[in-house]
């Protein structure tokens, strides 16, 4: 049941900000009762459709050794929640990004509406005023329904997201395609080392991680012929939500869609992708409108000429190499091990990693041409950007590993 629950939760991550955006525009500000009634009606209608559409989604049969694996899954989720709550106790408002713009914007939108002021999607004095509003719209919806902002709102929201994501990821690694694959238990347990730390920052990064992870799972199910129409609709909805979550959300949404497209192309099922495009197109139009009205300073001052000059400076490649040496060595070692012992020196299955490797390459290129101090930019951004990719990478690696051991393996009936 964990996969359908994760799908239903992801649907609501996208549905709630859409409802809130519509109500903030259409309803007169300050009318909380009318807002609550309209919100409840729309939320129930959307969820009734989602729950009905999820019924055909069939889980793979749980394989042998379920007792110990269920204990491991419970320990991973429980430990993640405890680490998160411990960090939230010390810093209940999150980190710089969490306080300075995600929670600040959410609070401002909610209190503005409750005070009777019209909705303004961007204010010039906001930090990163050009960042899209999917997360602030989710949190402000909860605040409006609650009658006012509370620091507990983002904590509870991110805790639930963390637990659903950790449960889904750990379940996939531990229960699906089970063979003797102890490394997957290790990879799953490694989630506890950083996942709750990242979630406790109360930013949009964990949402991007979860969205990309779910898209990767749907892509694998498409490859195996198990994906239902609603899952592909959800993939488009999630991609659109990621597009409106952060500026880099567009890049990750495209990576997830590229993975879906690759899986569809290799199995001759490209026509099955049509449900993806309608929600995605609507979300991209919404994003374009927001970018047109937002107060946004230039992302990289100096323009294309300055970016080009930095790209041609060999010295600018040293800092990313130096700062990220251990990380790259570790990842390269992992890929070599998979290639040697799992894929039996065959490159055929590596296509499945290509979208994520391209994203990593783009991130590294951004660190080369950045107008910020390189060491500062890498120090503040690299860890969360890479952790956003890691769970999806591990999920795909577990699938490659299992298929290498059993080429007839499928995702389950249906």
């Amino acid at each position: 049941m964990i996969y359908p629950i994760a799908c239903w939760f992801a649907f609501n991550l996208a549905w709630i900000p859409l409802i809130n955006a519509g109500l903030l525009w259409l309803l007169p500000p300050g009318g909380r009762a009318l807002y609550a009634a309209a919100f409840a009606l729309l939320w129930l209608a959307g969820n009734a459709g989602a729950v009905r559409a999820l019924r055909p989604v069939v889980e793979s049969p749980v394989l042998a050794g379920r007792g110990r694996r269920r204990i491991a899954l419970a320990l991973i989720v429980g430990a993640s929640a405890l680490v998160f709550l411990g960090r939230a106790y010390v810093n209940p408002l999150g980190n710089f990004d969490g306080i300075g713009f995600w929670n600040a914007k959410s609070l401002a939108i909610a209190e503005s509406y409750l005070a009777g002021a019209p909705f303004r999607p961007s204010e010039p004095y906001w930090i990163l005023s050009g960042y899209p509003l999917a997360l602030p719209l989710s949190l402000s919806a909860i605040a409006i329904l609650s009658g006012g902002w509370s620091p507990a709102i983002p904590i509870v929201f991110h805790l639930i997201t963390l637990c659903v994501c950790q449960a889904f990821f750990a379940h996939w690694l531990l229960f699906r395609f089970a063979r003797r694959a102890d490394w997957r238990l290790g990879a799953a347990s490694a989630l506890v080392a950083f996942g709750p730390v990242m979630a406790s920052h109360l930013t949009a990064d964990f949402g991007l991680l979860f969205g990309l992870l779910l898209q990767s799972a749907i892509a694998v199910r498409l490859y195996d012929g198990s994906a239902k129409r609603f899952e592909l609709l959800l993939a488009g909805l999630i991609a659109g939500w990621m597009w409106n979550l952060k500026n880099e959300g567009a890049l990750l949404a495209v990576a997830g869609l590229a993975l879906l497209a690759l899986c569809a192309w290799r199995t001759g099922s490209v026509r099955k992708l049509w449900p993806v495009f309608t929600p995605l197109a609507a979300a991209v139009l919404l994003w374009l409108w927001f970018k047109a009205v937002a107060h946004e300073p230039a992302a990289m001052p100096g323009g294309a000429a300055a970016i080009f000059a930095r790209a041609l400076d060999p010295a600018r490649y040293l800092e990313p190499l130096r700062a990220l040496a251990l990380f790259h060595v570790a990842v390269l070692a992992g890929l070599v091990l998979i290639w040697l012992f799992t894929l039996r020196r065959s490159w055929r299955a590596f296509w499945i990693f290509s979208p994520l490797l391209v994203v990593h390459g783009i991130y590294t290129a951004i660190f080369v041409v950045t107008s910020y101090d390189q060491a500062w930019h890498i120090g503040t951004a690299f860890a969360r950007l890479q952790y956003t990719l890691f769970p999806s990478f591990a999920l795909l690696a577990s699938y490659v590993h299992a298929r290498a051991a059993d080429p007839d393996l499928t995702n389950g009936p249906g």
Partner: protein
């Protein structure tokens, strides 16, 4: 046997990667503690500062953006200015001084020292 060795190696790699990422993020925990403390203390003044008013924060902290972010959260709808004590800030401000770092709690002292000190409203105390 080979499968088990591969498994252990990948286990070690996964944990190495995670701990490298964690170590990178840990360096920013001080910044988070500062902003949480500043936001908590500034929020106690929210009822006295009307919407639209100007708020000026003086600090010698190098990362002034931390204070600005905390003020945007704690005092929404106000115009925030942050600068060094000798910087030119608007006159008609609710003016505060902020420390460079969260003061450590001295044993036996209750309450803990404040990070934020309220100075003046415009030219009046």
């Amino acid at each position: 046997m080979r499968n088990r060795i591969t498994g252990l190696a990948l286990f070690a790699i996964a944990w190495t990667v995670m701990l490298v990422l964690y170590a990178q993020q840990y360096k920013h925990d001080e910044e988070s503690r500062y902003m949480n403390a500043a936001a908590r203390e500034l929020a106690t003044f929210a009822g006295r500062i009307p919407y639209g008013a100007r708020v000026c924060l003086q600090t010698t902290r190098a990362a002034a953006a931390d204070l600005r972010g905390a003020a945007l959260y704690a005092l929404p709808g106000r115009e925030i200015f942050v600068g060094a004590p000798d910087a030119s800030l608007p006159d008609d401000c609710y003016r505060f001084a902020a420390g460079e770092s969260v003061p450590p709690a001295a044993p036996g002292r209750d309450p803990a020292p404040a990070l934020i000190e309220f100075l003046t409203i415009g030219n009046e105390k």
